[in-house]
């Protein structure tokens, strides 16, 4: 299944959860947030949220700026 993850096309297993995607990107998830097709996926629901084919997933954290 193909999704867009932080702007890059990625092949992921069908049924993968947001929690699994985040864990594959960062060790410390404490200051991380996720948007699925532009809308925030609350941290408490990461394990229950599953992107579908073609979905856009953004995983963000703090960066110097502003």
């Amino acid at each position: 299944m193909r999704i867009t993850l932080n702007g890059e096309t990625e092949d992921v297993e069908a049924g993968v959860s947001i929690a699994e995607i985040v864990a594959g990107l960062v060790e410390d998830v404490s200051a991380t947030a996720v948007a699925l097709n532009g809308e925030v996926v609350p941290r408490s629901t990461w394990a229950l949220a599953h992107p579908a084919e073609g979905d856009d997933v953004e995983v963000v954290t703090a960066a110097p700026g502003g």
Partner: protein
Amino acid sequence: MADATTGKNDELVLAGRNLSSRLVLGTGGVPSLDIMEAAIRASRTEVVTVALRRVEVSAPGSIVDVVRRTGVTILPNTAGCYTGREAVRTAHLARDAFGTDWVKLEVIADDRTLLPEPVELLGAAEVLCGEDFAVLAYTNDDPVLSKRLEEVGCAAVMPLGAPIGTGLGIRNPHNIELIVEAAGVPVVLDAGIGTASDAALAMELGCDAVLLASAVTRAHDPVLMASAMRHAVEAGRLACLAGRIPKRRHAQASSPFEGKPDLR
């Protein structure tokens, strides 16, 4: 910051939080995280603003670690957002990432001027205030817009002194004074500060605090400039409280003529 002479407590209450420093530090443009940490400590700031960006898989260290080590309050911002919708979504992500309702709301019109887009800004402010965010709104030096932002519930208004990163200082001190006079919420001078005297002027004009980034992070010696800004903000605040003398067209002797010996 306490008045050195009277010991009077002069804390700033920003979005329900008592702060003894009236300097808020941005983190954009910093050469390294080590320098940022040293600058934060030298500035004695208690609030630091950060942007939200995609995670970098192999990034060594993070600004989050610096925030934690220094114990400052994190103020997420919506830097780089061009629409209200994008800014609102960014605020939602920030709240989930950092567990804070604070947001520095920034909606810019274009990347040449980086000036706030007033219509999108006001709309986003209204949405976020309705969702119980503590919105600190980065705005033009426009007394009317500043008042509107306050009316929709912003916790602070943050007018620019000059466009972001220009270091041009406070281009319209009169407007800043008008904003301060009318404001029922804290006014934070945000953007345009170039050097310490600009920060002092902001405070002398009656601003409650100053937010700056580039003036420190892009200075030749960021840590030294952070210290300079700390002192400038304190000096400006004390001068504001002390009340400056009126400007006069003609000289006024400070020494009395009475009792002057006749030596002619």
